[in-house]
Amino acid sequence: MSILKEPWPWYVAGILIGLTVPVLLIAGNKQFGISANLRHICASCFPGKVSFFRYDWRKERWNLVFAAGILIGGYIAATFLSNGQDIKVNPELVQQLKSYGITDYSNMVPRQLFNFGSLLTLRGWVMLVGGGFLVGFGTRYAGGCTSGHSIMGLSTLQWPSLVATICFMAGGFIMANLILPFILAL
């Protein structure tokens, strides 16, 4: 039990995540892809007159159930499988973040940025609301996210997914290294 509570190594996580692809295929011929759920939420709750959201989302309910499972899994891991220790990251990052007042490593997300009060600051608003918007807009425009393109697409050798993955990474590199320092300084 104690070994379960320690952070799991990358190869264990990688194998388990990779196995999600055949598990979903064998469970019912389902393609791994989580960002589609954002579209299904739109289609089920507020499709408006937008043809992009006029389809039978009920057929895709399995994916919403899958996403609900992820949320429950997150709860189980944080509640019953936590060793209560800080996340250990590269000391260089710790130094860099310290200068922006980020010093709390007790959660998966930095508490000093990810809290409701932070929504009242420009920095928090840009990161949480702006960032979320870009994730939702970008994944749908790209037709998938890390699961659909980088894992499902790459593992089935589809070159458009390689293009998408390279662009995901490029966007992330640009943000983290060139733009984020200015946003964190807000």
Binding site: A27, G73, G74, I87, L134, W159
Partner: protein, 155 residues
């Protein structure tokens, strides 16, 4: 007579569907636990990845792709079917400009929030309730794309 038949048929399909949901729920739960325990949903880990300060995330994604590729290869080689005996099909992905522009936009958002869509759900589960706002904003982003989709060139 034929009406009765079709009604029965619908009930059967609905019943079958409900049983299936449990499979996806359990897979999702397992997936969510892995997300947290390997710290993939950690904003800090994503920052390390994009600053090339750690191998961790590259190891996770690399191993996942190799594992998935081997599994799909085995499924194809042995003609493995679904639990209900259906033939497994994988839809090919067509190239679209959106994979470039949308990919870059998503990447920018990933670098900010430290989360792709899957981790958003897991982060909420760990108790980071403010992420509900991030998720809602992501839904708004998707809605905006859908609203503009007839006007955005994507082929």
């Amino acid at each position: 007579m034929s009406t009765t038949y079709s009604v029965n048929n619908t009930t059967n399909t609905a019943e079958k569907g409900r049983k299936h949901y449990l499979r996806y729920l359990l897979t999702g739960i397992m997936f969510g636990i892995v997300f947290v325990k390997a710290e993939i949903i950690s904003w800090f880990r994503i920052q390390e990845m994009f600053r090339l300060q750690s191998f961790h995330m590259y190891g996770v994604i690399g191993t996942a792709v190799i594992t998935a590729a081997l599994s799909v290869w085995l499924i194809r080689k042995f003609g493995i079917r679904t639990l209900d005996g259906e033939k497994i099909t994988i839809q090919p992905k067509k190239f679209k400009q959106g994979q470039i522009w949308g990919g870059l936009i998503f990447g920018l958002g990933w670098g900010l929030t430290g989360a792709c869509p899957g981790p958003l759900f897991a982060q909420i589960g760990t108790g980071a309730l403010v992420v509900i706002v991030v998720l809602a904003s992501a839904v708004a982003g998707t809605w905006t794309y859908g609203y503009l989709s007839s006007r955005i060139k994507n082929d």
